[in-house]
């Protein structure tokens, strides 16, 4: 009856063999099948940024990506940014220091996006950071602190 396919995803440096329907999104595969809940489902229609992950080092939305589509590519989630027990990534540390979140639900997506924002060279000014972080909605309203955190992390990285 069901039309499952076998795929192997490379997530956070580990191969993960999965059997799933082609229509399963990367977001649902990460959360429901791999138990990687750090990538959040906020809108499931590409409008909030909570599901931001890296594919081959670039930030994308996992809710509008099929799991099957990324076979053969490198997927990095918030869990892969720094391993448990290890030192936090400079962007993670900056988010904590600047109080750049409240409820924390958009935070993994914000952090993944911020890592890319800096890597892309789009953290050159507060105005640029604001624009290039606008794909990540934060309803608690941590935006000014997110800008401060990205600025701090960008300076730390350089």
């Amino acid at each position: 009856m069901s039309n499952k396919i076998d795929i192997t995803l490379n997530v956070n440096g580990r191969p993960e063999a999965l059997q799933l329907e082609p229509r399963v999104t990367l977001l649902d595969a990460l959360r429901e099948q791999l138990g990687l809940n750090g990538t959040k489902k906020g809108c499931d229609q590409g409008q909030c940024g909570a599901c931001t992950v890296h594919i081959d080092g670039e930030r994308v939305l996992a809710c509008l990506t099929l799991a099957a589509q990324v076979e053969g590519r490198e997927v990095t989630t918030i869990e892969g940014l720094s391993k448990p027990g290890q030192k936090a990534h400079p962007v993670q540390a900056a988010f904590l220091e600047q109080d750049a979140f409240q409820c924390g639900y958009c935070t993994p997506g914000q952090i993944m996006s911020a890592v890319s924002c800096i890597r892309e060279g789009h953290a050159g000014s507060d105005e640029e950071i604001r624009e290039y972080m606008s794909g990540n909605l934060c309803r608690c309203g941590a935006y000014p602190h997110i800008v401060a955190a990205v600025r701090q992390a960008a300076e730390a990285v350089q």
Binding site: Q45, G49, L61, G72, R130, E131, N136
Partner: protein, 327 residues
Amino acid sequence: MRDFTYQRPASLAEARNAAALPGAMLLAGGTTLLDLAKCGVAAPETVIDISHLPGLASIEVGLQGARIGALAKMSAVADNAGIIREFPAVSEALWQSASAQLRNMATIGGNLLQRTRCAYFRDPSGFPACNKRNPGSGCSALGGVTRNHAVLGASPSCIATNPGDLAVALVAFDAQVELGARTVALEDFLLTPGDHPERETDLRPGEIIATVSIPASVAARRSTYLKVRDRQSYEFAAASAAVGIEFEPDGRTIRDLRVALGGVATRPWRARNVEDALKGKVLEPDAVRRASLLAMEGAIAQADNHYKIELAPRVVARALLKTGELA
């Protein structure tokens, strides 16, 4: 999402064959297809994933102009140094579209095929009547909430706005799409609804956009894309304008002019009447403001979108004056 089978063709030719079969839809960036599949608007039986096809993501900018592979990502084109230098309006249109994440996913070819944001179109269970989805069923938007609907190029069958930014800049600078066997001007490729809103493009079965080319021009080099919206970012345009100017050697008289509008029409809207009115004239504010009003010739407002008729000429005028360094 309906269940579907998933295929990864190894070549463009293979992809064309697969795409010609009934129920097949191409997946490139996925930002339109998966969105619409979740809305229930798209229900592919087979998804042909062309995102892994090699050699279709190049960006070449030379003396003749730019050639952009259809699978080039919006972000890559926006940040390309040659594009920024030769076609600033194209880069500006791109980075003001969607979000950084979506621009890392969406391809140039897919962007040109994006569907309208009409809320009635996007809600098949709530509004079965939609001539785009179901030809002849009627238009639910007429008489509804029409704040973002088109004032230009609409018909009694459809008032849905083309939401694109990139396409507006490309239409201004005479871009062409290469479809394999034939090449078509983008302006002709994207259709107004007329009596057949279900036909949005001149894409024929089995055709795939392979390349987008933009001829080099002095006007493109001196161009800008101005996008106006209530939210500062991550919103579709209330009105936008792509403009480019070539001056005579005196630096004041307009030799060549390009004007296209977004957010107000059923397709990217080239405003040749504005161009013609200003060619040969000196760029100065009053003349620009007067000529910009021509962009709204033939505009028809719905209940909630009259503001676009006021707004769009002002966006055109500001864009022209800004490009001419008078604003």
